[in-house]
């Protein structure tokens, strides 16, 4: 079979069945494996520089796939990052021998972005030390391979906490800063990447550079939300804050639209410290709000709670009882709702994570629940990110797609406060260009349970969600890897070509995370 050589940075023709993917022009987005020219010479060179390259099946298999579980690749060798100097030497040699380097933090990508299709897999979690905590200035300097949760463990010993991080315990700091990161406080504090004050970056050609908004600002702008194209983040200085447990409240809605309207009302008025939506099913939508202090909670209860159209658990339960009593043919729905309440709700209130009615660790509670109830060897989570005015339509359209593909699914929705001074960071990222004040993101997560779905089926589902984004001039959080066919469609050739030119200038051999974006 003839396989066309594809120049790095371009998309080649797709050699698989022409209608395997619905809704996108036929482009090869699953990368071809790099076949290993110069590998032996490269290994010799890096080993002479004191870098260990692991080539055993076991070492490489550990990184064969990511959290998505639909992209599989095998690196030629694995290098565990140990220092910025070591990473610099590795990248210099990779440029010289034109060996691709794929960077992996927590490996929680879902589209194969952290999977190496040949070349080197650089495991950044080897750089996981907290370097300095300044409790007075409220900053921390840390190696970037650290998991947010491990950082929290260290911060908590000084009664501190990070500002915002994905509700997933094994997201890495560096990986999150490279793509954005959302938390249930993002409507107030922005995306997780916004808390970065300065970075140490190893450029694709192996220079170690410190950058921030005031020092090497262009590099800082490119690396933050840069999907790993312009450098490897080896250290980060982050803003932190005093730790507070959460006072959490849940309100239940029968209408997704009403819930989103109320969520946006709360966000616009800074009515809560945390906010978001988790759907159980189309007619059971949960708005969660939480507070860092009694004062904020009391102000919410006095000023905003009366304006919300959601019910408490008891009220919603009674309403649902009446609803299903009159519609016995929907008892299956009622049973599912009941099961969910019995299994999931206690998990969100486990006694060991609560004290005096407050939730001690939101990321522990939600991350454990996410993996327990939504996790499996495959995770498909297409998303849409839009401006506030477009959000309801985008979510309703996406929800309709979910309904056609899967019996059960969950939507996770949050607002993201935008920082005008960071607009340059947001270019070609998950932040849609037309968003003002807040962007809104929605993840569409089917519950795969024990169902067996083909990759084409899952891909078709994702394409239908992403087509909505193209249609509405929106953006996506996960547009890399297998979804990179959408990058030009949604951002346009001019912008993408400009970034590609920047990439070629920064990374002449196109070795760093070469399959993620271009």
């Amino acid at each position: 079979m003839h396989v066309t050589n594809v120049e790095p940075g371009t998309l080649g023709p797709c050699p698989v069945a022409p209608d395997a993917l619905q809704g996108i022009s036929r482009q090869q987005t699953n990368p071809a494996r790099w076949n290993g020219p110069n590998w032996e010479e490269f290994c010799r060179a890096v080993r002479e520089r004191g870098i260990e390259v692991r080539e055993t099946v076991a070492a490489r298999a550990t990184f064969a796939t990511d959290a998505g579980g639909t992209a599989y690749g095998l690196a030629h060798g694995v290098v565990i990052a140990r220092s910025a100097g070591q990473v610099a030497l590795l990248l210099q040699a990779a440029q010289q021998y034109r060996v691709p380097v794929t960077v992996c933090g927590g490996g929680l990508t879902t589209e194969g972005e952290s999977v190496a299709f040949g070349g080197v897999l650089l495991d950044m979690t080897g750089m996981s030390r907290v370097l300095r905590i300044d409790a007075e200035a409220l900053t921390v300097r840390t190696e970037a391979g650290i998991f947010w949760h491990s950082l929290a463990e260290e911060l908590r010993r000084q009664d501190l906490d990070y500002l915002s991080a994905p509700l997933n315990l094994t997201s890495s700091v560096g990986g999150t800063l490279g793509v954005g990161g959302i938390d249930v406080n993002s409507a107030r504090l922005g995306c997780s990447a916004d808390q970065a004050l300065a970075l140490q970056v190893v450029t694709p050609t192996g220079e170690i550079v410190e950058c921030s908004d005031t020092e090497n600002a262009e590099l800082f702008r490119r690396v933050i939300l840069g999907y790993g194209q312009f450098g490897v983040i080896t250290e980060a200085t982050l803003r932190v804050r005093r730790y507070t447990p959460l006072r959490m409240h849940y309100f239940y809605y029968a209408s997704l639209r009403t819930a989103i309207e109320d969520l946006q009302l709360l966000d616009r008025n800074d009515a809560s410290d945390y906010s978001g939506i988790l759907t159980i099913m189309d007619s059971a939508v949960n708005v969660l709000v939480a507070f860092d202090s009694n004062e904020r909670e009391a102000a919410f209860m006095a000023n905003w709670r009366p304006r919300l159209r959601g019910y408490g658990e008891l009220g919603f339960g009674l309403r649902a009882l009446g609803h299903y009593a009159l519609r016995p043919w929907k008892l299956g729905e009622a049973w599912y709702l009941l099961q969910r309440k019995r299994e999931l709700f206690p998990e969100l209130q486990r006694a060991e994570y609560m004290r005096d009615g407050t939730m001690l660790e939101r990321s522990v509670v939600f991350s454990r629940a996410v993996w327990k109830f939504w996790g499996s060897r495959q995770m498909v989570i297409p998303d849409l990110a839009t401006s506030a005015p477009k959000f309801i339509e985008a979510v309703e359209r996406g929800n309709a797609v979910c309904r056609r593909y899967f019996p059960h699914y969950t939507l996770y929705l949050v607002g993201i406060k935008l920082r005008p001074e960071h607009r340059a960071h947001y270019e070609m990222s998950c932040i849609p260009p037309d968003a003002e004040g807040w962007a809104y993101g929605c993840e569409f997560e089917p519950l795969l349970d024990d169902g067996v779905y083909s990759r084409d089926y899952l891909q078709s589902f994702k394409n239908e969600i992403y087509d909505i984004g193209v249609d509405m001039d929106a953006s996506y959080y996960r547009f890399g890897g297998m979804m990179k066919g959408y990058i030009r469609r949604v951002f346009g050739d001019a912008l993408v070509d400009r970034h590609l030119a920047l990439k070629r200038a920064a990374d002449p051999a196109m070795i760093l995370n070469r399959h993620v974006i271009f």
């Binding site: 076991a58 550990t62 064969a64 979690t125 949760h149 463990e153 315990l169 060991e352 499996s376």
Partner: protein
């Protein structure tokens, strides 16, 4: 005849069910020390899912400390300790334990002492036996000679064989278990043995030494808010759902700090690979003990395990006290 130890409860889910979430990494002491995915449960599962066999990951299998911290956090409920022990059994046992089964075959079982009519028995393990004073106080606190028998055969050789992945001869296991059957309560100091006893003797109440002692009001009264209470991790994680409540109640009651992380998992103070347990490699517990102590403002360290006492004594000038020594050390 040689396979009884292998007929322990088999995991309902094994490495094939691992979804790769990585929650096990966060609590893994080997991960903390090495920052090497390959040496963790996740690394082992991923390697096995993609074609590796036990021999390919032998270093990882032998480096596991069997602290069991990974089990309660696993959202797939994979029996990770059983999985690791099963993998160890697929490897050739280290030379240091190769003749252990033969020795166990020959070993005669001493009778229970002081009398077999006691309703409860204490299996003290080697660490506690080396401290006769502490052992005597523990026995007295737990009921005294009339109510508690001190087992001379405490299964230390069986615990070693389990740890090493060596097969326990059925005859030896039967000699060990026979006097324990029918007892209401068995208190075991060895966390790994305790886990196995729960499976071998499902009708008995099996308690760790730490839980048994910390349930006594004389011991609880002696705990204070400036104490760091170090839970022995193997026993705690073997019965996590129940014991997390036990220690939460103790915290609320006495205000002491614990070696618990943000997931309420016990950070093991001694995290030793198989080679270290067998004395074939140098023991270095300092990464763990320093991490447990980092940023804490405590005046005393209270331990459930004698191994933990020795580990803390190496890195801290704070007094280190075994639970059994608490009640009469002048603080009660």
């Amino acid at each position: 005849m040689f396979g009884l130890a292998n007929r322990t409860q088999q995991p309902e889910k094994d490495y094939a069910s691992c979804s790769g979430c990585g929650l096990c990494l966060l609590v893994c002491p080997v991960w903390r020390r090495s920052r090497d995915f390959g040496l963790t449960p996740l690394g082992r599962a991923r390697a096995l899912q993609h074609g590796a066999v036990a021999a390919d990951i032998a270093e990882s299998i032998q480096s596991c400390t069997l602290c069991a911290a990974c089990e309660p956090v696993c959202p797939e409920d994979i029996a990770l300790v059983a999985m690791t022990l099963d993998l160890r059994r697929q490897l050739a046992p280290p030379a240091a334990v190769q003749n252990v089964p033969a020795r166990m075959e020959d070993q005669a079982a001493p009778p229970l002492a002081p009398r077999s009519s006691a309703a409860a028995v204490l299996l003290p393990g080697q660490g506690l036996r080396a401290r006769p004073g502490t052992l005597a106080r523990a026995a007295t606190l737990l009921g005294g000679a009339g109510n508690l028998a001190l087992a001379e055969d405490d299964g230390s050789d069986i615990a070693l064989a389990l740890e090493a992945g060596a097969t326990v001869p059925a005859q030896r296991l039967e000699r060990f278990l026979r006097p324990l059957r029918g007892l209401k309560t068995i208190v075991a100091a060895d966390g790994l043995l305790l886990r196995q006893l729960q499976q071998w003797l499902p009708g008995s109440k099996i308690a760790s030494l730490g839980v048994a002692l910390s349930s006594l009001s004389a011991v609880r009264r002696a705990l204070g808010a400036s104490d760091l209470y170090v839970i022995e991790s193997r026993a705690y994680h073997a019965d996590y759902q129940r014991l997390v409540k036990h220690y939460d109640t103790l915290r609320a009651d006495r205000g002491c700090a614990f070696n618990l992380d943000l997931q309420r998992i016990a950070i093991p103070a001694t995290a030793r690979s198989l080679a270290q347990r067998l004395g074939l490699a140098e023991i270095d517990d300092q990464v763990q003990t320093r991490w447990i102590l980092q940023g804490r403002n405590v005046t005393r360290i209270v331990v459930e395990s004698m191994d933990d006492a020795a580990a803390f004594a190496q890195v801290s000038a704070l007094p280190v006290v075994h639970l059994a020594d608490l009640a009469d050390d002048g603080t009660s």
